[in-house]
Amino acid sequence: MTAVPVISSLALDPPRLVANECTACGARFFGRRAACAACFNEEFRSAELPTEGEVVAFTIVAFAAPGVPTPYVAATIDLGGTKVQANILEVEPSPEHVQLGQKVRLTTYSLGQDTQGTEAVGFGFTPIEKG
């Protein structure tokens, strides 16, 4: 069965996030850029991000646009100095169960198949158990 990532910055086998990194200043971007927003250089290379990081901000979304299942935990995660936006999965969506500074790890899951049987692969982060 073939699989396709939900966004192009998610690489599969093994799952990791890959940024476009400016070859001049090292600024990182998700998705295509004509030039670096920091230094205007026009060359980029791929940079793999660590799969473990820390929650630096989160929210629990209870009301969302039609078709978006709620509640869910959305977070900003620092992966070794590069921030990403993702959901935190496999936790109770309540303030008691999510903490700022929490250590998390990348995980992937199926978002369903299209008519040709190709699986869409989503991603999120799960808490790393302490100890």
Partner: protein
């Protein structure tokens, strides 16, 4: 001798709330005509018009407004800059006057949002039969809710939580108390969409929208318009003493966008561009934060108000929580913030907001704010930010005589 200063000659905001009786252009006309009357001038005197309407789909709102109040052939700038649209219209007229191309100009912002649901997010077309990467990030489906949140409540919730993570001390209750302050302030403002005091328990116990913002901690979708007539110093000197007495000086007018910053493309950084706008505004006006008598800042969510205490340098870096807990931003405090009730109760008709907050400050400087008057107000600051991002800061001063 005339200075290069630009003044507010006339200004008005409509009472915010539900206005099913009028169309967008009519609501804009209501504000524009009242602002012209307030300034003692007419549309025939205007040499430039800048107007904004973000979500109404009205097309060229400036020309639609002209058809309501007078087509004189003057240049029209239709502006769009998210929640900073009104401030951008004001800034556009300001630049035309500063450039010497006009002596008198009109800036208008209008929005009809009553009954609108969740703003932001919004998907584009994806192929549901065969997954097909779309756009610069190669998404195969709408990412909102799957890869974090793009809804405004969730984005601004994270902005507040990020501050809490960096500096500590900010809790759900802290944010709710900020909202309690603004709802209390609104009870004195007859122009507010909602004038209802709410207890801390009511605020914290209300429907959760995006933790830690409950429903009353979010800005109110409503209908409203605001308009301002700007005049050059040279022209003002030729006008009547009463017009000169009520004129309010625009001591600083600044518009900024996001400088590049790590992470800003993931979670909007509303801090850096606001801080930069504030720094430029204080330098332009030659005033310091401690000189301010009142501030209207962009509390689109309770979480946003906290970080802007810091961004606007109303407190030392990292000390927004203690600034709030000192009582400073309450209307009887050292530096009242959002005595209008803020966007959480006054309402947030998006394109009108950046002129409505200037109206609020100007109203106090003129000594015309009625029950909510901040006595002896001489200098005030109005701030807006639209995600994307655009930030507008205006510092206003009472006429010298």
């Amino acid at each position: 001798m005339a200075s290069g200063d630009v003044w507010i000659l006339g200004i008005h905001m409509t009472k915010f709330g539900k206005r099913p009786d009028v169309e967008i252009d009519e609501l804009a006309a209501e504000a524009a005509l009242a602002a012209l009357k307030d300034g003692g001038v007419s549309i025939a005197d205007m040499q430039v018009l800048a107007a904004g309407n973000l979500l109404g789909g009205a097309g060229s709102i400036g020309q639609a407004l002209q058809k309501q109040i007078g087509q004189t052939g003057i240049p029209v700038f239709n502006v769009s800059n998210a929640c900073a649209t009104g401030a951008t219209a004001l800034r556009t007229v300001m630049m035309a006057i500063k450039a010497g191309e006009a002596d008198l100009g009109l800036a208008v912002g209008v929005e009809k949002l009553s009954g609108a649901g969740m703003l932001g997010g919004g998907g584009s077309k994806f192929n549901k039969d065969v997954w097909t990467p779309v756009g610069t990030n190669g998404a195969i489906m709408d990412l909102d809710g799957r890869v974090g949140t793009s809804g405004m409540p969730g984005v601004f919730a994270q902005v507040g939580m990020e501050y809490a993570h960096t500096y500590g001390g900010a809790t759900f209750e802290t944010f709710a108390r900020i909202s309690e302050k603004n709802h209390m302030h609104s009870t004195l403002n007859p122009f507010a969409a909602i004038q209802k005091p709410l207890t801390l328990e009511q605020i914290m116990g209300d429907i959760m929208i995006a933790y830690p913002n409950t429903r009353p901690m979010c800005s109110v979708n409503c209908d409203g318009a605001a308009a301002a007539v700007l005049v050059s110093d040279a022209k003002l000197q030729t006008l009547d003493p009463d017009q000169r007495r009520r004129a309010v000086k625009i001591s600083a007018s600044v518009l900024t966008s996001d400088p590049y910053d790590e992470g800003c493309q993931v979670l909007p950084n509303i801090n850096t561009l606001t801080r930069r706008a504030a720094e430029q505004a204080y330098a332009q006006a030659g005033v310091a934060p401690e000189d301010l008598d009142l501030v209207e800042l962009h509390d689109c969510f309770a979480t946003a108000e906290l970080v802007h205490y810091d961004n606007l340098m109303l407190c030392k870096p990292g000390e927004a929580v203690s600034f709030f807990e000192s009582g400073a931003p309450f209307r009887d405090g050292r530096l009242p913030v959002n005595v209008s009730g803020g966007l959480q109760s006054k309402g947030h008709p998006i394109a009108a907001t950046g002129i409505a907050n200037v109206w609020e400050v100007a109203h106090h400087l003129r000594g015309e704010a009625g029950d909510r008057q901040i006595e002896g107000a001489r200098v005030g600051l109005a701030h807006v930010i639209g995600l994307g991002s655009a930030c507008g800061v205006h510092i206003l001063e009472k006429a010298a005589a």
